[in-house]
Symmetry: C2
Subunit: 592 residues, 2 copies
């Protein structure tokens, strides 16, 4: 196919659009791939649509290859199924809701777990029908609070979502692994660097979950990876290994000391250095045990007090905390009224002595895994201006359990290999490109999806859910492959195989270019052909670099000497090729 | 590709679904092509999606062939452009409206004239950029008052909408004709009987317009066609030729007569036969002039009285009336208060004497084209119980103009060929499958789409709009091609090329079928392969007939004698083919 630049619906822009925050967004707008229609809502122009369709094509091929079957659900969905799973409420402002002319409630689907569950329930009834994997490539809607970065976080976007249905956990694990392998193949083919990280299933419910992240500095997701092994996880999913018990035979008995005016860790550490200097090393925030209070609000409306005890040099990571709370549980600040209602809590000087469900304040007390048996701490003595020193975990205090919500820091030991001489974690940023979940039975239970097992007994089906965003992938590929001149597409997703440029007004040049265009096209190649006569060579070259087709062929002055230039967009490498051999040369390049 | 019935996500149903009104709907549900998700909203199962994709593919090919370029707009659209063209209001309850989390107004696009206009305005500025045709295949939304007949009138559906942009009327006409020819090719390829009818542009504004209707008894659209020439039009668009002037020299002077108790045409005709019998023939309703009153409501809120004068044997066709009113003008009943406000109108006995904008009642008076100069009428004398006889149009009364809104009847002369010895009209029903419009400058004017012409002067662009509904086409094809056994797809849109059935439990049979399946697939054919072992031959045959793939190959008992049965789904014709030649035989059939 030949697309002539003289007719193609595209206008390249020299200037960056004012609202574009990241390179992929700037370049996709400037090169005429997409246009903004409303905040977070984009129109695909011909070049952009070709890339999107190629990405969707790769996704479909790999889904079909694992036996997943394509269906297509509506985007406009009735409220009832989402009410049954409570997501109508849980999504809050995050979904678009509307009413039809009769006043019935609808939503624009953010994901389709409910609809797939009901469809399978509608058609299937026996274990013999399973395993089953269904998918769709479809338009999704989320009313993002802050749509940003062009296609990276839009409000209307395309998504491939698939769902697996199995009769037991082993089946789910197998379906999950098949999808995982398909995702690896998809991301390998899409041609950008990515990493698979362990993830918390979060609001989706369920157990095992991994994310596929495109490595990108502009990414919204922070993940950590080991500098030695292949461990990678998003921050919510990092597990801190519990500290091994330590001997504490030579630790003196705990003793309370006056520490006036030390309600913060910094003031406490300064006071310790002054009043209780240590011979071997100064005091450090990590020597103190900080107890941070939260009020939890449960779905039934009840409020609960929670204290997290962790080393004083770490903060509670609120996203990690959120991911550890039960479904529908939210945290709120622990306010003055909460303190007033619990007079045994001395604000700024709270210690384990006042915490725990059995104590008068009734505060559930959970410890960071680093506060292991035998560790020694300075902590509040539950009286204003007073701290306890040499307080030993396990000897002098216990708690109601552990909770792993402290911030993850570069240099933390790797949970996979880092115990002794192992790797340490480092953080990086990425763009969430795919997410695979073992949902388990949550949706099947809520919507009554059961099948008869081989003994004729009704069993609840177990499900997986798997998503990839092709529209976001287009932006992520652009983000991961562009250079300072423009876009730079991997061959498999480029909007054309070849960008052919005819320069000048010489009729012989244009006739030769025309002939080359037709010959390349007859070999099945897709061409962008810059046949514009009144446009300068400089503008044409700039356009070709901006648009980013992998191979650029220039027919120009060299033709007088019988040569045509073939340029590699990525490396910039130029090759002079005899004009009568350029078609074979380029076909071989594209097919290589 | 081989799709095994043992694994395909499909369940055929023996019974008709309760809510299915038309054969296409019943069969598409029963054969497992679609499932209802909500009223007028459907989910496409694997078989249905394949047919839909083939229809969309044909549409894309023919659009590409006329140089139209594919883009893709969002479905979720901001209010403002639709406000600028007044369609936000005009659509009334017919569109889905919603608000985002910030309270901004959005709609789900019913068609995209506004968005395309703005996009072209955004990118193009010169006559050199035109002509331009853009299209998309995309999901559309309309909040139908009565969604019905499955996919035939849905609330979420796919549509190919394209738009042409030209600098002048001649360009628009050329773009329109190119689209028209592409549509003819598309409908020829889709394989059902259709007719192209003249249409009123109606609420879309603009001038020339034609509809492509699938001929179908279950269709919602009535159209008329000539029994002799190729004239066809939807009822709104039928034009009645004005009556030629007749001589009225021998008509006596008009004379008012007492006609007590004759407020209706029937009572009047009966009275005339009794009191004023005619020698040559009895009185007929067509001899009377009926004046029907309406109250028109204009967009600015003003109310206007309108009288339509037409032969007493015809009713005003309200859809035809609606299509003749100006944009945004609606009609309301002419009620008792309206009569009370105009005492010169004698209800049931209104004649031309009281009508006309200049008369005291101030009623605009428009005549049916049949009420031509010299025609003779009996009509109301504007006094209760009194009519005028021998009233001659042009001699005794005139009106403010003509209006062509009388019902169209079978047997009416054809406007194209029917003047003398010509054809007559007959009505038929169809399903609207495509609609092409010359929009003109309405949208370009409202949204400011102008380009510089060759003299450097700004001119407003003229547009065309062209729509086809692929999802509706799937149902229309099913409607037009099914038989009493099930669906019966034309080859180009069938969900597979061949439905291969292996019967019985004989391993040799299944091994042979397996081998045939792989050989056919290696020739590039798509197969449904009924490999189910525990299902009876009868059920398999019924399923194959219901699903409607054009060629059914049965490997069964005949294999012992070295033969396989090849059956034509449409004709029912069966051919015994030697097993070792069946692959070549079937490949030739499919390729023929």
């Amino acid at each position: 196919m030949i697309s002539r630049m003289s007719q193609l619906f595209v206008r390249t822009l020299r200037d960056d659009p004012a609202d574009a925050e990241v390179p992929s967004h700037r370049l996709l707008i400037r090169a005429g791939y997409v246009r903004r229609a409303a905040p977070g809502i984009y129109t695909w122009l011909p070049l952009g649509l070709r890339v999107l369709r190629k990405v969707e094509g790769i996704v479909r091929e790999e889904m079909d290859a694992i036996g997943a079957q394509e269906v297509s659900f509506p985007a406009l969905l009735p409220r009832e199924p989402y009410e049954a799973t409570n997501r109508w409420t849980e999504y809050g402002d995050g979904i678009f809701r509307l009413k039809d002319r009769k006043g019935a409630d609808y939503l624009l689907g953010p994901t389709h777990e409910e609809m797939f569950t009901l469809l399978v329930k509608d058609l299937y009834s026996s274990y013999k029908d399973l395993p089953l994997s269904l998918y769709q490539v479809q338009t999704k809607y989320r009313d993002e609070a802050r749509p940003r970065a062009g296609l990276l976080r839009g409000r209307e976007f395309t998504m491939k979502d698939s769902y697996s249905f199995d009769v037991d956990d082993a089946g789910l694990e197998a379906s999950y692994q098949r999808h995982r392998e398909a995702y690896v193949r998809i991301f390998d083919r899409l041609g950008f660097e990515y990493v698979v990280v362990r993830a918390e299933a979060g609001a989706m419910g369920g157990s095992k979950s991994e994310e596929f992240l495109a490595k990108a500095d502009v990414g919204e997701d922070t993940y950590v990876r080991c500098d030695r092994c292949d461990y990678a996880a998003n921050v919510e999913a990092v597990t801190t290994p519990p500290a091994a018990p330590r001997a504490y035979d030579d630790v003196p008995a705990a003793h309370a000391e006056q520490t006036p005016g030390t309600p913060t860790i910094d003031t406490l550490v300064a006071h310790l250095d002054e009043a209780f200097p240590r011979a071997d090393r100064p005091w450090h925030a990590a020597d103190t045990l900080k107890n941070v209070l939260f009020a939890l609000r449960h779905p039934d409306g009840t409020r609960e007090a929670l204290a997290v005890g962790l080393p004083g040099d770490r903060e509670v990571d609120l996203k990690r905390l959120e991911s550890k709370l039960g479904e529908g549980v939210v945290f709120e600040p622990f306010g003055d009224e909460d303190f007033a209602a619990r007079p045994t809590l001395a604000k700024g000087y709270i210690g384990p002595g006042a915490l725990g469900e059995e104590r008068p304040a009734g505060v559930r007390y959970l410890l960071d895994p680093r506060v292991g048996e035998g560790t020694v701490w300075v902590t509040g003595a539950d009286e204003p201006g007073s701290h306890v020193l040499d307080l030993v975990a396990g000897r002098d205090f216990t708690a109601d359990g552990t909770i792993d919500v402290a911030e993850v820091r570069d240099g933390d030991p790797c949970p996979a290999c880092g115990a002794e001489d192992g790797g340490v974690l480092e953080s990086a940023r990425g763009i969430e490109m795919g997410h695979i979940f073992q949902l388990g039975r949550k949706y099947a239970e809520a919507l009554g999806l059961q099948v008869l097992d081989e003994h004729g007994k009704l069993v609840t089906v177990t499900m997986g859910s798997y998503g990839i965003g092709p529209s976001r992938a287009v932006a992520a590929i652009a983000e991961g492959t562009h250079d300072e001149l423009g876009l730079c597409w991997p061959r498999d997703v480029a909007p054309a195989d070849v960008h052919l440029v005819a320069t000048g007004k010489d009729e012989a040049v244009h006739a030769a270019a025309e002939r080359i265009a037709h010959e390349l096209s007859s070999h099945g190649l897709d061409l962008l052909y810059d046949d514009r006569v009144k446009v300068s060579p400089g503008v044409k070259f700039k356009d070709a670099e901006l648009i980013g087709v992998p191979t650029i062929v220039v027919v120009g002055k060299g033709l007088a000497d019988g040569t045509v230039e073939v340029k590699d967009r990525r490396t910039g490498e130029r090759t002079e090729v005899p004009a009568d051999r350029v078609v074979d040369h380029v076909v071989a390049l594209v097919r290589s």
